[in-house]
């Protein structure tokens, strides 16, 4: 029986859609193209099949996500993951938070930062650079954004240059997008094996 996961975790849950995903066998040509289904690649997640209901958005989504999270230069990958995680914590997207906390831990070869954040949230004791990055992303994720000139100055004081700051803005903003799909269209679940 599948149980909904409500607590933040690095152990990535399964994502269960609240709407019916597109049936691959009934997909239109445009959907197949956006899904990048080829004879050698027929494995598509329920999440992507759900997004295939809006094929025009799906088509631009993957290249945009990859560019913001992985393109060279600017903020290092771990910093971008903190941006993604801060947004996911504000929006309580347990699934996205798990994926990006796990990636951060993997990149840094340490669970220290994500342990602290999951335990204490915004009150976690972080080093000055992580503190400035997390606080800015957290405040930018509110509606309306609560980030102000002091938060921007804190990033500069922590040593971030303009390229790094824009990358942080992009990763936190991108998860304002991702969270509103993942957290709204489905549930993070864990299958419990009955004894």
């Amino acid at each position: 029986m599948a149980k909904i996961v409500h607590k933040f975790t690095r152990d990535v849950p399964h994502w269960q859609p609240r709407v019916t995903p597109v049936n691959l066998e009934e997909a239109t040509e445009a959907q197949l193209e956006a899904l990048q289904v080829t004879p050698s690649n027929t494995k598509v997640s329920d999440y992507v099949l759900t997004l295939a209901h809006d094929v025009e958005s799906l088509k631009v989504r993957s290249p945009l996500f990859n560019a913001i999270m992985y393109d060279k230069g600017g903020l290092g990958r771990a910093g971008r993951e903190i941006g993604a995680l801060a947004a996911s914590m504000v929006n309580r997207c347990v699934y996205c938070a798990a994926v990006h906390a796990a990636r951060h831990a993997q990149l840094e070869k340490s669970t220290e930062l994500t342990d602290k954040l999951f335990e204490k949230g915004a009150d976690a004791d972080l080093d000055p650079r992580d503190r400035a990055i997390f606080d800015f992303a957290r405040k930018l994720s509110d509606c309306p954004s609560q980030a102000d000139a002091d938060d921007m100055q804190a990033l500069r004081d922590a040593g971030l240059d303009e390229d790094e700051i824009l990358d942080l803005i992009l990763s936190a903003s991108l998860f304002g997008w991702a969270n509103r799909l993942m957290h709204v269209l489905g549930d993070p679940v864990r299958t419990e094996v009955d004894a």
Partner: protein, 162 residues
């Protein structure tokens, strides 16, 4: 590459060629270009499903206002061709007169309080007769706007336009 300086995100964020933050924006030109493509995909899609372009524009204006981004609201409002859905641009309007209160309630909650969304919010749309594909379309519109409005808010802090 076409002119990234005229895209909604870059222009509303106050970045101009050679001005503050322009080096960083230039480094991410591809991202800004794709952001424009994504904006067109949600505000003027070839297949709008149940949500005409004017309804999407009105909801975008509304959500920009919920985000205290009046200047961006003006940019989205410029996309409206007629006034059928214009009333929805006002965050105080419930949508009841247009038979769209279920859509407005959902969009406001996803925009402003996404953390409170639960399965019941989706089943309420389904009970009101909204097809699954159209639920996904609403979410994509809302999700993109969340991204673009935050990108603009952040850029404004970088450029000093805030």
């Amino acid at each position: 590459m076409s002119d990234i300086w005229t895209t909604t995100a870059v222009a509303a964020g106050g970045a101009t060629e050679g001005g503050p933050a322009s080096g960083a924006v230039g480094l991410r030109a591809k991202v800004m270009e794709m952001t424009r493509t994504a904006e067109d995909a949600v505000l003027a899609p070839a297949d709008p499903g149940a949500w005409p372009h004017d309804l999407r524009a009105a909801l975008a204006v509304r959500i920009a206002r919920l985000n205290a981004a009046g200047d961006v609201a003006v940019r989205y409002a410029a996309r409206m061709q007629g006034d059928e859905f214009a009333a929805l641009a006002d965050p105080a309007e419930t949508g009841a007169a247009l038979g769209l209160s279920h859509v407005v309630t959902f969009m406001d909650k996803v925009a402003a309080r996404p953390r409170d969304i639960a399965a019941g919010d989706i089943s309420a749309l389904q009970a009101a007769g909204v097809a699954d594909a159209d639920i996904v379309r609403l979410c994509e519109l809302n999700a993109f706007l969340a991204y673009q409005l935050r990108l603009i808010a952040g850029l404004k802090l970088m450029t000093g336009a805030a």
